[in-house]
Symmetry: C3
């Protein structure tokens, strides 16, 4: 973290593996757009449209693509991907997310046989018996990790996250505050008008590089597993029910609700507030537009919208039809009158 | 918990009150389907369709109905209701949910005059003054119980549940992690463009055998009570607003939102993502399909769907009409032309 | 708090700045409607329609407007606004919300350089380095306040609220349990099919007199600010994404979802379950009906409904059209037959 002291442009170029042109001794402390940047700010050209602004910027240094020839007199760092390099710059010059200090806070309660070597355990954390927390992982204040749960390396669990017993979490997973992983699936037997709880003896598996937003809930499987596969990103207030299998590199936006035993392929994008009915299968590369409801299986690589969700073009035709409907109903009434007149004329030709 | 050591089929039969046929000395340790079961697994015939698989299974023991004559040489336990018995088996041979050890964890903070005899109080729990926690009840880590709240016997509150002051919770209630019970209802007086908070002086009453999922919110009443009646089951991320009265044995699936002063009868089923507008009354035995929105009172014993929710058959006709609409608009245009031709012919009979 | 001992009507009149008529020595202990009130209850005439009940009530004292001449023999307190005065009465005679005792609970963990003078800090609270908590503010059990966060005066954060680092919270703000403020915005760069996290270096600013319900999530800005302006009230389970700017005195009802970079003007009312697509601007004084989805900018001072949200009258016409649709389709079929007959007659005039 260089928030206070800043970093020289030369150091930054080295860190990014970029090619420095200009004054490497300058110190930068912040990130800003080309327009807003001052002499202590790093800026970037993410797009050819920004090139003109590059000439006028007051930025201390600018990230540009290797394919761009910088204007004379500018201090730039040439990189393969300026947008991606910008993310690295933000990590270096901050402000950084808060970190849990290394070691175990004295107020934390660690269960018998739990392993926390190399992890950073915050205040008021509770870790169950035989749980294993990987090196480099941070458990912020108030986190609960149940018995026999395994959390991999370099994870971050933000304050008050709950990960119930027997869950498996991979490496580099981030889970945001007040989210619940591994709670019971919602399942009952109906007998004589009463609901009898079906024990939920399965578990949740979260693979590497998954991120889960705040106040979300992912249920354990009735038996077997609920699985979130590598690289998938889940937003706030999302519900994923028991026995779902969410593919790799999916994006699930805020307030989506995924019912039990749903299967998502890889690279599925569910926009905000989408609902998926139980046992549905959504194939690789599907996009579902915001607030749609998926009632049946969806074939791969296409975009769907509506409730029930249909292919985007079909939805578009439906919407156009709906907008025409009030006018069409008036036309139908008028046409009916014209037909009546024709009929009347045909029946009484003498008066025609 | 017999997870490690297993249990003999004879012991299991006794526990279930079932009739043993075959080798009672066998030890079983797990539950699996007829297809997947090995010799240490219990399986079950929940359905006549499974009978053929019963002949081929490798399961150590099989739960079957009393009306089924077991094939020779099979070890079976005959019970009145194999599905229900299976739930009991899962409770016996686990894996069991994590339990809070008996007694009060030294890190818990217990308010003046609070009574916790016979309850199991986990780490970092806070219990307000004069609260009463029943015997056999488990409060997992990080739970908060407010002043003057009463929690009955044999309840389980999972980590980080919040139950605010003056709430009443019955016996055998389960509340999942990060759920909030008894937060203020959402009510303001508008005066001169500002919103003045109306004090929410009522409370929440949760009757026996209710289960509430994770990350849900149930508001206290403005005055009087918000009440969840006996045996009702509520899923994750559900919102129940102030002064609602939810009947007995209802099922409320994930992400439903129930506005203020709504009344539900008994055995109402709200599927996922359903919304109910304030002051609506839903009668006994109503089912509302997923993602429907209820804008008015619903008569009992029927199924409703759509937004606004209408009877299922009406909804079905609407959907069929909608699908026909684009074609109908084209037909209307074509018909208009044909009428024009007829009119033209009628006006100019000589050219007909 | 006078819950136990009650308060004389004279004292109450003084507290309200009202004009006493009748017996000021009476003691009142509770609030009830005119019909239900007994001699120890305060009641109120919020509306001319209640005047008749005023004559028959058994209430110990009644709040009435200054424009109303009280019936002889009644004990009343005349005030400018009986509804508003009733809120004050409820605050005086309770039951009051639970309060955190002054000072810092010994189990709380206070970071280096944090300032908590005059605040009430409950059990198991964690406060980050350099955070500042204003005088009169209550942090209930299990609250987390991140490093460098500032919380103003006379705020209440209910149990298990999380306010992440570098957040700014004004005065008299109330945040309900299990809500998360300042969690990372949901933003990734897609490269080669993988999602690379964009550091979320912005923050959240919550201005004075805001109230936020339970289990809600408000994301920090990617850079810059997510801002909730003065006097806005937000209900349970609401999601507000990164870089939103929510105007003054708005009302956002339960389970609304507001996507990134949305701007709301002042006095906007979003009813329950409303969704707003990213980058939309909603002007001052707009009302959006429950469960609508806003896909585009909305002009000020009007009411919108539907998905996509349209002006209420347009929505009404659409709904009427939809209800007529099944009948219209039948009429279209019948009309087509009549046209066929006319055509047939025109083509075969001899058989007409």
């Amino acid at each position: 973290m260089a928030e206070e002291s800043g970093i020289t442009v030369a150091e930054l170029a080295r860190h990014l593996g970029g090619e420095l042109r200009g004054d490497g001794a300058r110190v930068v402390r912040t990130v800003a757009t080309l327009e807003q940047a001052g002499p202590e700010a790093v800026s970037w050209v993410g797009d050819q449209r920004h090139l003109r602004q590059l000439e006028q910027t007051r930025a201390g240094a600018v990230l540009i693509g290797r394919d761009i020839e910088p204007p004379a007199g500018r201090t730039v760092i040439r990189v393969a991907d300026p947008d991606l390099a910008l993310c690295d710059v933000l990590r270096v010059i901050g402000p950084s997310p808060e970190r849990v200090p290394p070691g175990v806070h004295p107020s934390a309660v660690i269960g018998a046989g739990a392993v926390v070597e190399g992890a950073a355990i915050g205040p008021h954390v509770t870790i169950g018996a035989r749980a294993r927390i990987g090196a480099g992982t941070q458990l912020h204040a108030g986190v609960y990790v149940g018995a026999d749960t395994r959390i991999g390396r370099d994870c971050v669990l933000w304050p008050n996250v709950v990960v119930r017993e027997r869950t498996a979490v991979g490496d580099r997973v981030m889970i945001h505050s007040n989210t619940t992983i591994g709670t019971d699936g919602f399942g009952y037997l109906q007998r004589g008008g009463r609901h009898h709880k079906i024990p939920q003896v399965g578990r949740v598996v979260i693979e590497d590089d998954v991120e889960i937003g705040a106040n979300a809930a992912i249920d354990r499987a009735r038996s077997g597993e609920t699985r979130i596969r590598r690289g998938t990103k889940i937003d706030n207030l999302v519900q994923i029910a028991h026995n779902c299998d969410i593919g790799e590199d999916c994006i699930i936006v805020g307030q989506c609700g995924i019912s039990g035993s749903v299967t998502l392929g890889h690279h599925v994008l569910l926009s905000g507030h989408v609902g998926v009915i139980d046992h549905v299968r959504i194939a690789d590369g599907v996009t579902v537009a915001a607030t749609s409801i998926v009632f049946g299986d969806l074939a791969g690589g296409r975009t769907y919208r509506g409730s029930p969700a249909v292919e985007k073009m079909v939805f578009g035709r439906q919407q156009v039809s709906l907008q025409r409907l009030p006018k069409a109903l008036a036309e139908l009434r008028a046409l009916t009158k014209r037909v009546e007149q024709l009929e009347s004329a045909a029946n009484h030709p003498e008066t025609g």
